[in-house]
Protein backbone atom coordinates (compact mmCIF):
# COMPACT_ATOMS: atom_id res chain seq x y z
CA UNK A 1 0.00 0.00 0.00
CA UNK A 2 1.20 3.44 -0.76
CA UNK A 3 0.75 5.91 1.97
CA UNK A 4 -1.23 8.98 1.11
CA UNK A 5 0.82 12.04 1.73
CA UNK A 6 0.01 15.66 1.18
CA UNK A 7 2.59 16.92 -1.32
CA UNK A 8 5.03 19.26 0.28
CA UNK A 9 4.68 22.80 -0.92
CA UNK A 10 7.98 23.75 -2.45
CA UNK A 11 9.00 26.67 -4.60
CA UNK A 12 9.23 24.59 -7.77
CA UNK A 13 5.90 22.94 -7.18
CA UNK A 14 4.29 26.37 -6.94
CA UNK A 15 5.96 27.46 -10.13
CA UNK A 16 4.79 24.31 -11.88
CA UNK A 17 1.21 24.74 -10.78
CA UNK A 18 1.22 28.39 -11.76
CA UNK A 19 2.66 27.50 -15.15
CA UNK A 20 0.09 24.78 -15.69
CA UNK A 21 -2.75 27.15 -14.88
CA UNK A 22 -1.36 29.80 -17.22
CA UNK A 23 -0.82 27.35 -20.07
CA UNK A 24 -4.34 25.98 -19.69
CA UNK A 25 -5.75 29.50 -19.66
CA UNK A 26 -3.82 30.45 -22.79
CA UNK A 27 -4.94 27.35 -24.63
CA UNK A 28 -8.56 28.05 -23.72
CA UNK A 29 -8.15 31.60 -24.94
CA UNK A 30 -6.61 30.38 -28.19
CA UNK A 31 -9.55 28.11 -28.87
CA UNK A 32 -12.08 30.79 -27.96
CA UNK A 33 -10.72 33.92 -29.62
CA UNK A 34 -8.13 32.79 -32.14
CA UNK A 35 -4.38 32.97 -32.49
CA UNK A 36 -4.32 36.76 -32.61
CA UNK A 37 -5.60 36.90 -29.05
CA UNK A 38 -2.61 35.11 -27.57
CA UNK A 39 0.25 35.96 -29.90
CA UNK A 40 1.81 38.99 -31.51
CA UNK A 41 1.90 37.22 -34.84
CA UNK A 42 0.35 39.12 -37.72
CA UNK A 43 0.00 38.93 -41.48
CA UNK A 44 3.53 40.26 -41.99
CA UNK A 45 4.99 37.79 -39.48
CA UNK A 46 3.08 34.54 -39.93
CA UNK A 47 5.68 32.45 -38.07
CA UNK A 48 7.30 33.50 -34.85
CA UNK A 49 8.58 32.15 -31.57
CA UNK A 50 6.67 28.86 -31.75
CA UNK A 51 8.00 27.85 -35.13
CA UNK A 52 11.46 29.20 -34.29
CA UNK A 53 11.80 27.75 -30.82
CA UNK A 54 9.29 24.93 -30.38
CA UNK A 55 9.57 23.49 -33.86
CA UNK A 56 13.05 24.32 -35.16
CA UNK A 57 14.86 24.17 -31.82
CA UNK A 58 12.71 21.32 -30.51
CA UNK A 59 13.61 19.14 -33.44
CA UNK A 60 17.22 20.29 -33.38
CA UNK A 61 17.56 19.51 -29.68
CA UNK A 62 16.18 16.03 -30.30
CA UNK A 63 19.12 15.51 -32.64
CA UNK A 64 20.89 13.58 -29.92
CA UNK A 65 18.49 10.76 -30.68
CA UNK A 66 19.72 10.06 -34.15
CA UNK A 67 23.37 10.98 -33.49
CA UNK A 68 23.78 8.58 -30.60
CA UNK A 69 21.76 5.72 -32.08
CA UNK A 70 23.79 6.07 -35.27
CA UNK A 71 27.05 6.01 -33.34
CA UNK A 72 26.09 3.02 -31.24
CA UNK A 73 23.99 0.87 -33.54
CA UNK A 74 25.13 1.83 -37.01
CA UNK A 75 28.81 2.36 -36.33
CA UNK A 76 28.84 -0.07 -33.41
CA UNK A 77 30.83 2.16 -31.08
CA UNK A 78 29.35 0.32 -28.18
CA UNK A 79 31.01 2.12 -25.34
CA UNK A 80 28.52 4.94 -25.90
CA UNK A 81 25.66 2.59 -25.28
CA UNK A 82 24.91 4.00 -21.84
CA UNK A 83 23.82 7.20 -23.54
CA UNK A 84 21.29 5.59 -25.87
CA UNK A 85 18.25 5.27 -23.69
CA UNK A 86 18.19 8.73 -22.14
CA UNK A 87 18.65 10.26 -25.59
CA UNK A 88 15.91 8.17 -27.16
CA UNK A 89 13.61 9.24 -24.36
CA UNK A 90 14.57 12.89 -24.84
CA UNK A 91 14.04 12.69 -28.59
CA UNK A 92 10.67 11.02 -28.17
CA UNK A 93 9.50 13.61 -25.67
CA UNK A 94 10.99 16.34 -27.84
CA UNK A 95 8.87 15.25 -30.77
CA UNK A 96 5.77 15.01 -28.63
CA UNK A 97 6.40 18.60 -27.58
CA UNK A 98 6.84 19.61 -31.21
CA UNK A 99 3.46 18.09 -32.00
CA UNK A 100 1.94 19.77 -28.97
CA UNK A 101 3.31 23.13 -30.08
CA UNK A 102 2.04 22.55 -33.62
CA UNK A 103 -1.44 21.89 -32.31
CA UNK A 104 -1.43 25.35 -30.80
CA UNK A 105 0.32 27.06 -33.69
CA UNK A 106 -1.76 25.61 -36.50
CA UNK A 107 -4.84 27.60 -37.36
CA UNK A 108 -6.90 24.46 -37.92
CA UNK A 109 -5.21 21.81 -35.81
CA UNK A 110 -8.06 19.36 -36.32
CA UNK A 111 -6.79 19.05 -39.88
CA UNK A 112 -3.25 18.19 -38.82
CA UNK A 113 -3.59 14.74 -40.35
CA UNK A 114 -4.57 16.09 -43.77
CA UNK A 115 -1.10 15.63 -45.29
CA UNK A 116 -1.88 11.91 -45.11
CA UNK A 117 -4.72 12.17 -47.58
CA UNK A 118 -4.09 15.38 -49.49
CA UNK A 119 -0.69 14.98 -51.01
CA UNK A 120 1.54 17.69 -52.33
CA UNK A 121 5.05 16.31 -52.80
CA UNK A 122 6.18 19.74 -54.03
CA UNK A 123 5.71 21.17 -50.56
CA UNK A 124 8.53 21.12 -48.03
CA UNK A 125 5.93 21.34 -45.30
CA UNK A 126 4.44 18.14 -46.65
CA UNK A 127 7.79 16.44 -46.16
CA UNK A 128 8.13 17.97 -42.71
CA UNK A 129 4.69 16.69 -41.77
CA UNK A 130 5.48 13.17 -42.89
CA UNK A 131 8.84 13.20 -41.15
CA UNK A 132 7.21 14.28 -37.89
CA UNK A 133 4.59 11.53 -38.16
CA UNK A 134 6.96 8.75 -39.16
CA UNK A 135 9.84 9.65 -36.91
CA UNK A 136 7.59 10.05 -33.89
CA UNK A 137 6.29 6.56 -34.62
CA UNK A 138 9.82 5.20 -34.87
CA UNK A 139 10.79 6.92 -31.62
CA UNK A 140 7.71 5.49 -29.96
CA UNK A 141 8.72 2.01 -31.09
CA UNK A 142 12.25 2.59 -29.85
CA UNK A 143 10.81 3.74 -26.56
CA UNK A 144 8.33 0.87 -26.22
CA UNK A 145 10.88 -1.72 -25.00
CA UNK A 146 11.46 0.43 -21.89
CA UNK A 147 7.84 -0.11 -21.00
CA UNK A 148 7.80 -3.79 -21.93
CA UNK A 149 10.88 -4.35 -19.84
CA UNK A 150 9.35 -2.57 -16.93
CA UNK A 151 6.51 -5.05 -16.97
CA UNK A 152 8.80 -7.99 -17.34
CA UNK A 153 7.82 -8.95 -20.85
CA UNK A 154 11.16 -10.32 -21.93
CA UNK A 155 10.58 -12.96 -24.52
CA UNK A 156 9.22 -10.76 -27.32
CA UNK A 157 11.88 -8.23 -26.39
CA UNK A 158 14.69 -10.53 -27.41
CA UNK A 159 13.19 -10.95 -30.87
CA UNK A 160 12.42 -7.26 -30.94
CA UNK A 161 16.03 -6.33 -30.32
CA UNK A 162 17.36 -8.80 -32.79
CA UNK A 163 15.10 -8.03 -35.75
CA UNK A 164 13.26 -4.79 -35.20
CA UNK A 165 15.89 -2.60 -33.56
CA UNK A 166 18.26 -2.50 -36.55
CA UNK A 167 15.38 -1.58 -38.85
CA UNK A 168 14.12 1.07 -36.47
CA UNK A 169 17.56 2.54 -36.03
CA UNK A 170 18.20 2.78 -39.76
CA UNK A 171 14.75 4.21 -40.40
CA UNK A 172 15.17 6.62 -37.52
CA UNK A 173 18.53 7.93 -38.68
CA UNK A 174 17.23 8.29 -42.23
CA UNK A 175 14.05 10.06 -41.19
CA UNK A 176 15.65 12.41 -38.76
CA UNK A 177 18.40 13.44 -41.16
CA UNK A 178 15.65 14.20 -43.65
CA UNK A 179 13.68 16.06 -41.07
CA UNK A 180 16.56 18.15 -39.77
CA UNK A 181 17.43 19.25 -43.27
CA UNK A 182 13.86 19.79 -44.44
CA UNK A 183 13.34 22.35 -41.69
CA UNK A 184 16.09 24.34 -43.37
CA UNK A 185 14.55 23.79 -46.79
CA UNK A 186 11.34 25.44 -45.55
CA UNK A 187 13.00 28.82 -45.85
CA UNK A 188 14.67 28.23 -49.20
CA UNK A 189 11.52 29.25 -51.04
CA UNK A 190 11.60 32.80 -49.74
CA UNK A 191 15.20 33.86 -50.36
CA UNK A 192 14.25 37.52 -50.77
CA UNK A 193 12.57 37.56 -47.36
CA UNK A 194 15.60 36.51 -45.34
CA UNK A 195 18.62 38.64 -44.58
CA UNK A 196 21.56 37.75 -46.83
CA UNK A 197 23.60 36.22 -44.01
CA UNK A 198 21.02 33.49 -43.55
CA UNK A 199 19.37 33.27 -46.93
CA UNK A 200 20.99 30.39 -48.75
CA UNK A 201 20.16 27.35 -50.80
CA UNK A 202 22.47 25.48 -48.44
CA UNK A 203 20.10 25.81 -45.46
CA UNK A 204 19.13 22.11 -45.55
CA UNK A 205 22.77 21.07 -45.48
CA UNK A 206 23.56 23.56 -42.73
CA UNK A 207 20.61 22.43 -40.62
CA UNK A 208 21.60 18.80 -40.95
CA UNK A 209 25.31 19.23 -40.34
CA UNK A 210 24.79 21.54 -37.38
CA UNK A 211 22.37 19.04 -35.85
CA UNK A 212 25.26 16.62 -35.27
CA UNK A 213 27.42 18.74 -32.91
CA UNK A 214 24.20 19.99 -31.37
CA UNK A 215 23.00 16.45 -30.75
CA UNK A 216 26.30 15.57 -29.14
CA UNK A 217 26.27 18.70 -27.01
CA UNK A 218 22.70 18.01 -25.96
CA UNK A 219 23.60 14.51 -24.85
CA UNK A 220 26.35 15.91 -22.65
CA UNK A 221 24.15 18.60 -21.16
CA UNK A 222 21.39 16.08 -20.52
CA UNK A 223 23.83 13.81 -18.73
CA UNK A 224 24.77 16.68 -16.52
CA UNK A 225 21.15 17.57 -15.82
CA UNK A 226 20.38 13.94 -15.03
CA UNK A 227 23.21 14.02 -12.56
CA UNK A 228 21.81 17.12 -10.93
CA UNK A 229 18.31 15.75 -10.82
CA UNK A 230 18.66 12.04 -10.33
CA UNK A 231 22.18 11.53 -9.08
CA UNK A 232 23.11 9.66 -12.23
CA UNK A 233 26.82 9.19 -12.31
CA UNK A 234 28.42 10.75 -15.33
CA UNK A 235 30.73 8.78 -17.50
CA UNK A 236 33.60 11.26 -17.68
CA UNK A 237 35.64 9.24 -20.19
CA UNK A 238 32.66 9.02 -22.53
CA UNK A 239 31.66 12.63 -22.24
CA UNK A 240 35.27 13.62 -22.87
CA UNK A 241 35.20 11.75 -26.17
CA UNK A 242 31.82 13.20 -26.99
CA UNK A 243 33.39 16.61 -26.42
CA UNK A 244 36.13 15.81 -28.89
CA UNK A 245 33.62 14.71 -31.49
CA UNK A 246 31.57 17.84 -30.89
CA UNK A 247 34.63 19.97 -31.58
CA UNK A 248 35.35 18.24 -34.89
CA UNK A 249 31.75 18.35 -36.05
CA UNK A 250 31.52 22.01 -35.06
CA UNK A 251 34.60 22.78 -37.10
CA UNK A 252 33.03 20.95 -40.00
CA UNK A 253 29.80 22.91 -39.67
CA UNK A 254 31.40 26.30 -39.17
CA UNK A 255 33.56 25.74 -42.23
CA UNK A 256 30.56 25.02 -44.41
CA UNK A 257 28.70 27.96 -42.92
CA UNK A 258 31.44 30.47 -43.62
CA UNK A 259 32.25 29.03 -47.03
CA UNK A 260 28.65 29.38 -48.05
CA UNK A 261 28.72 33.06 -47.10
CA UNK A 262 31.96 33.64 -48.98
CA UNK A 263 30.75 31.84 -52.10
CA UNK A 264 27.60 33.95 -52.14
CA UNK A 265 29.74 37.07 -51.86
CA UNK A 266 28.17 38.21 -48.60
CA UNK A 267 31.31 38.13 -46.48
CA UNK A 268 31.33 41.91 -46.11
CA UNK A 269 27.97 41.77 -44.35
CA UNK A 270 29.57 40.05 -41.40
CA UNK A 271 31.59 43.13 -40.56
CA UNK A 272 28.92 45.69 -41.29
CA UNK A 273 28.36 45.87 -37.51
CA UNK A 274 24.67 46.49 -37.96
CA UNK A 275 21.99 44.46 -36.21
CA UNK A 276 22.37 41.56 -38.63
CA UNK A 277 26.10 41.35 -38.21
CA UNK A 278 25.87 41.36 -34.40
CA UNK A 279 23.28 38.62 -34.45
CA UNK A 280 25.44 36.64 -36.81
CA UNK A 281 28.57 37.15 -34.75
CA UNK A 282 26.67 36.10 -31.63
CA UNK A 283 25.66 32.85 -33.23
CA UNK A 284 28.89 32.19 -35.09
CA UNK A 285 31.58 33.35 -32.68
CA UNK A 286 30.09 33.01 -29.21
CA UNK A 287 27.95 29.97 -29.97
CA UNK A 288 30.33 28.37 -32.45
CA UNK A 289 33.99 29.35 -32.64
CA UNK A 290 34.52 29.92 -28.92
CA UNK A 291 33.11 26.58 -27.73
CA UNK A 292 34.87 24.83 -30.60
CA UNK A 293 38.27 26.15 -29.56
CA UNK A 294 37.54 25.33 -25.94
CA UNK A 295 36.50 21.79 -26.80
CA UNK A 296 39.70 21.25 -28.70
CA UNK A 297 41.62 21.88 -25.48
CA UNK A 298 42.43 18.92 -23.36
CA UNK A 299 42.28 20.76 -20.03
CA UNK A 300 38.72 21.88 -20.76
CA UNK A 301 37.62 18.40 -21.70
CA UNK A 302 39.14 16.95 -18.55
CA UNK A 303 37.36 19.37 -16.28
CA UNK A 304 33.75 18.12 -16.18
CA UNK A 305 32.30 21.43 -15.15
CA UNK A 306 34.10 23.37 -17.89
CA UNK A 307 33.16 20.69 -20.38
CA UNK A 308 29.50 20.95 -19.50
CA UNK A 309 29.58 24.73 -19.61
CA UNK A 310 31.14 24.64 -23.07
CA UNK A 311 28.64 22.10 -24.35
CA UNK A 312 25.83 24.24 -23.00
CA UNK A 313 27.29 27.12 -25.01
CA UNK A 314 27.14 24.96 -28.14
CA UNK A 315 23.47 24.27 -27.45
CA UNK A 316 22.75 27.96 -26.91
CA UNK A 317 24.62 28.85 -30.07
CA UNK A 318 22.48 26.49 -32.12
CA UNK A 319 19.26 27.72 -30.55
CA UNK A 320 20.45 31.20 -31.44
CA UNK A 321 21.06 30.06 -35.01
CA UNK A 322 17.61 28.56 -35.44
CA UNK A 323 15.94 31.59 -33.92
CA UNK A 324 17.98 33.82 -36.19
CA UNK A 325 16.75 32.00 -39.28
CA UNK A 326 13.13 31.92 -38.15
CA UNK A 327 12.79 35.35 -36.59
CA UNK A 328 15.77 37.70 -36.93
CA UNK A 329 16.60 37.02 -40.57
CA UNK A 330 12.95 37.16 -41.56
CA UNK A 331 12.39 40.44 -39.73
CA UNK A 332 15.53 42.02 -41.14
CA UNK A 333 14.61 40.79 -44.59
CA UNK A 334 11.00 41.97 -44.61
CA UNK A 335 11.02 44.77 -42.07
CA UNK A 336 8.18 43.12 -40.16
CA UNK A 337 8.10 44.08 -36.52
CA UNK A 338 7.47 41.39 -33.98
CA UNK A 339 8.21 40.76 -30.35
CA UNK A 340 6.62 37.61 -28.99
CA UNK A 341 3.82 38.23 -26.51
CA UNK A 342 4.24 37.01 -22.95
CA UNK A 343 1.69 34.30 -23.69
CA UNK A 344 3.83 32.97 -26.52
CA UNK A 345 6.75 32.77 -24.11
CA UNK A 346 4.70 31.11 -21.40
CA UNK A 347 3.43 28.50 -23.82
CA UNK A 348 6.94 27.71 -25.03
CA UNK A 349 8.26 27.48 -21.49
CA UNK A 350 5.24 25.36 -20.57
CA UNK A 351 6.04 22.92 -23.36
CA UNK A 352 9.60 22.54 -22.11
CA UNK A 353 8.34 22.08 -18.56
CA UNK A 354 5.91 19.37 -19.63
CA UNK A 355 8.81 17.62 -21.33
CA UNK A 356 10.98 17.78 -18.23
CA UNK A 357 8.20 16.50 -15.99
CA UNK A 358 7.53 13.58 -18.33
CA UNK A 359 11.26 12.86 -18.50
CA UNK A 360 11.60 12.74 -14.77
CA UNK A 361 8.49 10.57 -14.50
CA UNK A 362 9.89 8.09 -17.03
CA UNK A 363 13.28 8.04 -15.37
CA UNK A 364 11.72 7.15 -12.05
CA UNK A 365 9.45 4.47 -13.43
CA UNK A 366 11.15 2.95 -16.43
CA UNK A 367 14.56 1.43 -17.00
CA UNK A 368 15.98 4.46 -18.75
CA UNK A 369 19.36 4.26 -17.11
CA UNK A 370 21.44 1.10 -16.92
CA UNK A 371 20.58 0.38 -13.33
CA UNK A 372 16.86 0.54 -13.93
CA UNK A 373 14.39 3.05 -12.55
CA UNK A 374 15.94 5.69 -10.36
CA UNK A 375 14.81 5.45 -6.76
CA UNK A 376 16.30 8.25 -4.83
CA UNK A 377 16.74 11.52 -6.61
CA UNK A 378 19.42 14.11 -6.17
CA UNK A 379 22.92 13.52 -4.89
CA UNK A 380 24.09 15.55 -1.94
CA UNK A 381 26.72 17.37 -3.91
CA UNK A 382 26.49 17.12 -7.66
CA UNK A 383 29.88 18.65 -8.32
CA UNK A 384 31.70 16.24 -6.07
CA UNK A 385 29.65 13.47 -7.60
CA UNK A 386 30.72 14.51 -11.04
CA UNK A 387 34.41 14.40 -10.35
CA UNK A 388 34.21 11.22 -8.37
Amino acid sequence: MTKFTIPRITFWRCVTVLLAVLVAGIVVRRFSFGLGSISNLHDGMPWGLWIGFDLLCGVALAAGGFTITAIVFVFHLEKYKVLVRPTILTAFLGYLIVIGALLVDLGRPWNIWHPMIFWNPHSVMFEVGWCVMLYTTVLFLEFLPFVLERFGIHRPLRLWHRYLTPVLVLAGVLLSTMHQSSLGTLYVIAPQKLHALWSTQALPILFFVSAIPLGLAMVSVESYLSLRAFGKRLHPEILRDVGKATAVMLLFYLTIRIEDIIVRGEFGNIFAFDAASWFFLGEFVIGGLVPMFLLFRRDIRENPLALMGTQALVVLGMIFNRMNVAVTAFQLGTGADYIPSWMEFVLSIGMVAIGMILFSYCVRNLPVFEEGPVEDPRPADPIAEMTR
Binding site: G34, L106, G107, R108, H114, S123, V124, M125, T185, P191
Partner: protein, 251 residues
Protein backbone atom coordinates in the same frame (compact mmCIF):
# COMPACT_ATOMS: atom_id res chain seq x y z
CA UNK B 1 -0.51 29.18 -68.09
CA UNK B 2 -3.32 31.57 -67.37
CA UNK B 3 -5.84 32.17 -70.11
CA UNK B 4 -7.07 35.43 -68.60
CA UNK B 5 -5.30 38.23 -66.86
CA UNK B 6 -5.63 41.78 -65.64
CA UNK B 7 -3.67 44.82 -66.70
CA UNK B 8 -3.35 47.72 -64.30
CA UNK B 9 -2.00 50.99 -65.66
CA UNK B 10 -0.92 53.22 -62.82
CA UNK B 11 -0.92 56.33 -65.00
CA UNK B 12 -4.64 55.96 -65.62
CA UNK B 13 -5.80 55.27 -62.08
CA UNK B 14 -7.60 58.18 -60.41
CA UNK B 15 -7.93 56.52 -57.04
CA UNK B 16 -11.72 56.57 -57.01
CA UNK B 17 -11.88 53.31 -55.10
CA UNK B 18 -14.75 51.92 -57.17
CA UNK B 19 -12.88 48.64 -57.60
CA UNK B 20 -12.54 48.29 -53.82
CA UNK B 21 -16.26 48.67 -53.38
CA UNK B 22 -17.10 46.35 -56.24
CA UNK B 23 -14.74 43.74 -54.83
CA UNK B 24 -16.31 43.92 -51.38
CA UNK B 25 -19.82 43.64 -52.80
CA UNK B 26 -18.80 40.76 -55.01
CA UNK B 27 -17.40 38.84 -52.04
CA UNK B 28 -20.28 39.61 -49.67
CA UNK B 29 -18.15 41.73 -47.36
CA UNK B 30 -19.42 44.66 -45.35
CA UNK B 31 -18.55 47.84 -47.28
CA UNK B 32 -15.53 49.31 -45.52
CA UNK B 33 -12.56 51.57 -46.04
CA UNK B 34 -9.39 49.67 -46.86
CA UNK B 35 -6.03 50.70 -45.45
CA UNK B 36 -4.15 47.50 -46.12
CA UNK B 37 -4.86 43.99 -47.31
CA UNK B 38 -6.30 41.85 -44.55
CA UNK B 39 -8.65 38.95 -43.97
CA UNK B 40 -11.57 41.13 -45.01
CA UNK B 41 -9.98 43.09 -47.88
CA UNK B 42 -8.82 41.44 -51.07
CA UNK B 43 -8.22 44.64 -52.98
CA UNK B 44 -6.59 47.87 -51.84
CA UNK B 45 -6.09 51.10 -53.73
CA UNK B 46 -3.13 52.75 -52.06
CA UNK B 47 -2.78 56.52 -52.20
CA UNK B 48 0.87 57.29 -52.93
CA UNK B 49 0.41 61.07 -52.90
CA UNK B 50 0.56 63.48 -55.85
CA UNK B 51 -2.52 61.82 -57.30
CA UNK B 52 -0.71 58.56 -57.93
CA UNK B 53 -2.20 55.29 -56.77
CA UNK B 54 -1.30 51.64 -56.77
CA UNK B 55 -3.46 48.56 -56.50
CA UNK B 56 -2.78 45.54 -54.33
CA UNK B 57 -4.34 42.14 -54.90
CA UNK B 58 -3.29 38.60 -55.72
CA UNK B 59 -1.02 38.53 -58.76
CA UNK B 60 -2.29 35.06 -59.74
CA UNK B 61 1.19 33.79 -60.51
CA UNK B 62 1.74 31.49 -63.47
CA UNK B 63 3.68 29.10 -61.24
CA UNK B 64 2.30 30.09 -57.85
CA UNK B 65 4.46 29.74 -54.78
CA UNK B 66 1.40 29.25 -52.60
CA UNK B 67 0.30 26.24 -54.66
CA UNK B 68 3.75 24.73 -54.37
CA UNK B 69 4.22 25.22 -50.62
CA UNK B 70 0.85 24.14 -49.29
CA UNK B 71 1.34 20.75 -47.59
CA UNK B 72 -2.24 19.71 -48.20
CA UNK B 73 -2.66 21.11 -51.72
CA UNK B 74 -5.32 23.57 -50.59
CA UNK B 75 -4.32 26.02 -53.35
CA UNK B 76 -5.02 25.36 -57.01
CA UNK B 77 -3.97 27.25 -60.08
CA UNK B 78 -6.95 27.22 -62.40
CA UNK B 79 -6.56 27.10 -66.11
CA UNK B 80 -8.54 30.31 -66.43
CA UNK B 81 -5.95 32.16 -64.37
CA UNK B 82 -7.20 32.58 -60.78
CA UNK B 83 -5.46 30.83 -57.89
CA UNK B 84 -8.01 29.52 -55.44
CA UNK B 85 -7.97 28.14 -51.91
CA UNK B 86 -9.94 25.19 -50.57
CA UNK B 87 -11.25 25.63 -47.06
CA UNK B 88 -11.87 21.93 -46.49
CA UNK B 89 -8.18 21.03 -46.83
CA UNK B 90 -6.27 23.86 -45.14
CA UNK B 91 -4.70 23.13 -41.76
CA UNK B 92 -3.66 26.72 -41.08
CA UNK B 93 0.10 26.32 -41.10
CA UNK B 94 0.52 29.70 -42.80
CA UNK B 95 3.39 28.52 -44.95
CA UNK B 96 1.61 30.12 -47.92
CA UNK B 97 1.84 33.48 -46.16
CA UNK B 98 5.49 33.04 -45.40
CA UNK B 99 6.29 31.99 -48.94
CA UNK B 100 4.13 34.20 -51.20
CA UNK B 101 6.54 36.70 -52.77
CA UNK B 102 3.79 39.33 -52.96
CA UNK B 103 2.60 38.81 -49.36
CA UNK B 104 -0.97 38.24 -50.48
CA UNK B 105 -2.57 35.46 -48.36
CA UNK B 106 -3.99 36.83 -45.13
CA UNK B 107 -5.10 35.00 -42.03
CA UNK B 108 -8.10 35.35 -39.75
CA UNK B 109 -6.13 35.95 -36.59
CA UNK B 110 -9.21 36.33 -34.42
CA UNK B 111 -11.16 33.32 -35.58
CA UNK B 112 -11.38 29.94 -33.90
CA UNK B 113 -11.49 28.23 -37.28
CA UNK B 114 -9.38 30.65 -39.29
CA UNK B 115 -9.43 30.88 -43.06
CA UNK B 116 -6.78 32.02 -45.47
CA UNK B 117 -8.20 35.01 -47.31
CA UNK B 118 -7.09 36.49 -50.57
CA UNK B 119 -8.29 37.74 -53.96
CA UNK B 120 -9.62 34.87 -56.05
CA UNK B 121 -9.71 36.89 -59.28
CA UNK B 122 -13.48 36.46 -59.27
CA UNK B 123 -13.27 32.84 -60.32
CA UNK B 124 -17.06 32.52 -60.19
CA UNK B 125 -17.42 35.35 -62.69
CA UNK B 126 -14.63 34.13 -64.92
CA UNK B 127 -16.16 30.72 -65.23
CA UNK B 128 -19.27 32.46 -66.55
CA UNK B 129 -17.15 34.37 -69.05
CA UNK B 130 -17.54 37.61 -67.12
CA UNK B 131 -14.63 39.94 -66.33
CA UNK B 132 -13.58 40.47 -62.71
CA UNK B 133 -15.65 42.88 -60.64
CA UNK B 134 -12.80 45.37 -60.39
CA UNK B 135 -12.15 45.46 -64.13
CA UNK B 136 -15.78 45.78 -65.09
CA UNK B 137 -16.36 48.78 -62.83
CA UNK B 138 -13.14 50.71 -63.45
CA UNK B 139 -14.30 54.03 -64.99
CA UNK B 140 -10.97 54.99 -66.57
CA UNK B 141 -9.76 51.70 -67.97
CA UNK B 142 -6.83 51.66 -65.54
CA UNK B 143 -7.74 48.05 -64.78
CA UNK B 144 -8.61 46.00 -67.83
CA UNK B 145 -9.48 42.36 -68.17
CA UNK B 146 -8.67 40.11 -71.10
CA UNK B 147 -6.61 37.27 -72.42
CA UNK B 148 -3.22 37.47 -70.76
CA UNK B 149 -1.52 37.22 -74.12
CA UNK B 150 -3.39 40.22 -75.45
CA UNK B 151 -2.81 42.21 -72.31
CA UNK B 152 0.89 41.57 -72.44
CA UNK B 153 1.01 42.73 -76.05
CA UNK B 154 -1.01 45.81 -75.16
CA UNK B 155 1.29 46.58 -72.24
CA UNK B 156 4.33 46.38 -74.48
CA UNK B 157 2.64 48.59 -77.02
CA UNK B 158 1.98 51.28 -74.41
CA UNK B 159 5.51 50.93 -73.13
CA UNK B 160 7.02 51.33 -76.60
CA UNK B 161 4.73 54.19 -77.48
CA UNK B 162 5.56 56.34 -74.50
CA UNK B 163 8.58 54.97 -72.62
CA UNK B 164 8.92 58.16 -70.55
CA UNK B 165 5.58 57.55 -68.95
CA UNK B 166 6.56 54.27 -67.29
CA UNK B 167 9.40 52.71 -65.32
CA UNK B 168 10.51 50.80 -68.37
CA UNK B 169 9.24 47.36 -67.52
CA UNK B 170 6.06 45.49 -66.88
CA UNK B 171 5.64 44.40 -63.26
CA UNK B 172 4.44 40.82 -63.46
CA UNK B 173 5.97 39.90 -66.79
CA UNK B 174 8.85 38.11 -65.14
CA UNK B 175 8.21 38.57 -61.39
CA UNK B 176 8.12 35.16 -59.71
CA UNK B 177 8.24 33.59 -63.14
CA UNK B 178 5.42 35.73 -64.52
CA UNK B 179 1.93 36.49 -63.23
CA UNK B 180 -1.53 36.69 -64.75
CA UNK B 181 -1.75 40.23 -63.41
CA UNK B 182 0.40 42.79 -65.21
CA UNK B 183 1.17 46.28 -63.99
CA UNK B 184 2.43 49.30 -65.87
CA UNK B 185 3.96 51.51 -63.26
CA UNK B 186 5.01 55.14 -63.34
CA UNK B 187 6.77 54.71 -60.03
CA UNK B 188 9.20 51.98 -59.01
CA UNK B 189 7.62 48.97 -57.34
CA UNK B 190 9.15 50.03 -54.04
CA UNK B 191 7.73 53.54 -54.35
CA UNK B 192 4.40 51.98 -55.28
CA UNK B 193 4.31 49.93 -52.11
CA UNK B 194 4.83 46.69 -54.03
CA UNK B 195 7.48 44.12 -53.18
CA UNK B 196 10.54 45.25 -55.10
CA UNK B 197 12.90 42.34 -54.63
CA UNK B 198 10.74 39.58 -56.08
CA UNK B 199 12.99 37.07 -57.86
CA UNK B 200 12.63 37.15 -61.64
CA UNK B 201 12.15 33.40 -61.85
CA UNK B 202 9.61 30.92 -60.64
CA UNK B 203 10.14 30.24 -56.94
CA UNK B 204 8.78 26.70 -56.52
CA UNK B 205 11.82 25.56 -58.43
CA UNK B 206 14.02 26.56 -55.50
CA UNK B 207 12.65 23.92 -53.17
CA UNK B 208 11.68 21.40 -55.83
CA UNK B 209 15.30 21.48 -56.85
CA UNK B 210 16.07 20.03 -53.42
CA UNK B 211 13.00 17.84 -52.92
CA UNK B 212 13.28 16.10 -56.26
CA UNK B 213 16.70 14.78 -55.24
CA UNK B 214 15.28 12.93 -52.24
CA UNK B 215 14.40 9.77 -54.18
CA UNK B 216 18.07 9.59 -55.11
CA UNK B 217 19.54 10.70 -51.82
CA UNK B 218 17.49 8.40 -49.59
CA UNK B 219 18.60 5.10 -51.14
CA UNK B 220 22.26 6.20 -51.18
CA UNK B 221 22.13 7.38 -47.58
CA UNK B 222 20.21 4.25 -46.58
CA UNK B 223 22.71 1.99 -48.29
CA UNK B 224 25.57 3.88 -46.67
CA UNK B 225 24.07 3.50 -43.21
CA UNK B 226 23.14 -0.12 -43.77
CA UNK B 227 26.61 -0.81 -45.14
CA UNK B 228 28.22 0.82 -42.14
CA UNK B 229 26.02 -1.23 -39.89
CA UNK B 230 27.13 -4.44 -41.51
CA UNK B 231 30.75 -3.44 -41.86
CA UNK B 232 31.32 -2.34 -38.31
CA UNK B 233 29.43 -5.32 -37.02
CA UNK B 234 31.71 -7.65 -38.93
CA UNK B 235 34.69 -5.88 -37.50
CA UNK B 236 33.38 -6.79 -34.09
CA UNK B 237 33.01 -10.36 -35.20
CA UNK B 238 36.60 -10.41 -36.41
CA UNK B 239 37.72 -8.95 -33.16
CA UNK B 240 35.77 -11.69 -31.48
CA UNK B 241 37.67 -14.38 -33.29
CA UNK B 242 40.89 -12.73 -32.30
CA UNK B 243 39.97 -13.33 -28.75
CA UNK B 244 38.48 -10.05 -27.65
CA UNK B 245 35.58 -10.22 -25.39
CA UNK B 246 32.50 -9.14 -27.19
CA UNK B 247 29.73 -7.63 -25.23
CA UNK B 248 26.46 -9.12 -26.16
CA UNK B 249 23.85 -6.55 -27.08
CA UNK B 250 20.82 -8.58 -26.15
CA UNK B 251 19.93 -6.69 -23.05
Amino acid sequence: MSIYGLLFDQTMCIGCGACEQACQAEHDQEPHKVTRLDDNSYNWVQDLGDDVYSRHFCMSCEDPTCVSVCPVAAFTKTELGPVIWDESKCMGCRYCMLACPFEIPKFEWYSVNPRIEKCDMCIHRLSERLPTACASICPTGATTFGLREDLLREAHRRLDEDPERYTGRIYGEYEAGGTAVLMLLSRDPAASGLPANVPQESLPYLTWNILEKLPQVIPVWGVFLGGMYWLTDRKNAVADIEGYKREHDDD
